[in-house]
Amino acid sequence: MSDPKTFFLDEEEIPFEEGQTIIQAALSAGKFIPHLCYHPEFKPHGSCKLCTVRIDSRTVTTEDGQSVKIPGRAAASCTTPAQEGQHVESEVPEILDLRRTLVQMLLVEGNHYCPSCEKSGKCMLQGLAYDLGVMDPHFPQYFSKREVDASHPDILLDFNRCILCELCVRASAEVDKKNVFALSGRGNTKHLICNSESGKLGDTNMAATDKAADVCPVGVILHKRHGFEVPYGQRRFDIAPISDNPVQYAPVKEQV
């Protein structure tokens, strides 16, 4: 077997297998790249853009001897295949700032009242916000009026917190083969819908054991009668930041 191919992530050499995306290779190599809609078990689709990186920036020397950086292209690392010798920038001020802005956009778009959210402490959006040092939502809140759907016996949906990552849509279609969730509307009216004429989850064939019931990175799809079970201070991201142990988010070998 020939030497593994490699690319550079923030100047560090990262090996990859043919067909792997940048984020897959980075996480497997123990380098964290923020992500929300990427999930090791599903086909990437690239909507949240938290994983954006810059690829192949160049530095040129001008006639008067000054170095000028020409920024490379920006791309979602979860949908961009890794390529031999590529130079990828991730933890650089411009990209970190971009990610903070994206988190803030998500925070004002939905209604995120963490103190009363069952997901607090293990929420990916919150965890990323902490990791990026997001101290405030910055933009004016939408205060959009969204619903809670309690029609299902075991599962509660709080759409106030939906970030439209479509993981539940993908899980229900690909793993559960049920298509319980879908999207409707578009632009700023885009929203999650349930697969029933009433629009209620209770009228679908969703089961608490479905993959879709456990895939939501934020606090939308919740198991009823379970909440606030782990005390403050001992929850997932109380113990370790989201960026800790990146290999936990790496694709399982067979899936590559």
Binding site: P115, S120, G121, A129, M135, H138, F143, R146, D238
Partner: protein, 183 residues
């Protein structure tokens, strides 16, 4: 405490708008470190002093709670006008927090429900002494420019301490893992 002492004591004003005083309680949670703090600062308008209005030369204003009524807006303007640095402290100040959860309902419907008296209709108090409620609760930074944000519900005593010591030492405050919390 390694912060270099400022030449003069900094004037700090604090207040609670649409908040629960939880953040102020947490402030007191910095325990004996408050003694270090009073070496560095002097409290101006604050629930812990009895000063009713900000002095025009306040250095730092710390505000807990969002803006839910007309009076909140006036107090916030007073703070902005008189403080060089304004800090939004706590979840409510930063995104409206728990009080903002009323925003999903129309204030007219809420009042109609609250002030409905069986058989006697709805009588909503309209005394000019009572500040009017805003249609929606808003975070501070939608009303005035805010310089720093200290999240948490409430932020822990440690977070407040780290934040203030950074600030008093002239460093841009950073919290880092364990101290930055939205709840």
């Amino acid at each position: 405490m390694n912060a270099p002492l400022p030449k003069r004591k900094l004037k700090v004003a604090t207040t609670s708008l649409a908040g629960c005083f939880g953040c102020h309680m947490s402030f007191l949670d910095i325990d004996e470190r408050i003694l270090d703090l009073v070496e560095l600062v002097e409290f101006d308008r604050s629930p812990i002093t009895d000063i009713k209005h900000c002095s025009p030369d306040c250095d730092i204003g710390i505000i807990e709670g969002g803006v839910c009524n007309a009076e909140n807006v006036h107090v916030l303007h007073e703070f902005r006008k008189n403080c060089k640095i304004l800090i939004a402290m706590g979840a409510c100040a930063i995104n409206g927090g728990l009080p903002a959860q009323r925003n999903s309902l129309d204030i007219r419907d809420i009042l109609a429900a609250v002030y409905a008296q069986p058989g006697r209709g709805v009588h909503i108090p309209n005394d000019p002494e009572i500040p009017l409620l805003l249609n929606e609760v808003h975070p501070l930074h939608e009303v005035v420019r805010i310089d720093y944000f200290l999240p948490g519900c409430p932020p822990s005593g440690d977070a407040i301490w780290k934040f203030l010591t950074d600030l008093l030492a002239g460093r841009t405050p950073t919290l880092g893992h364990g101290l930055i919390h939205y709840d």
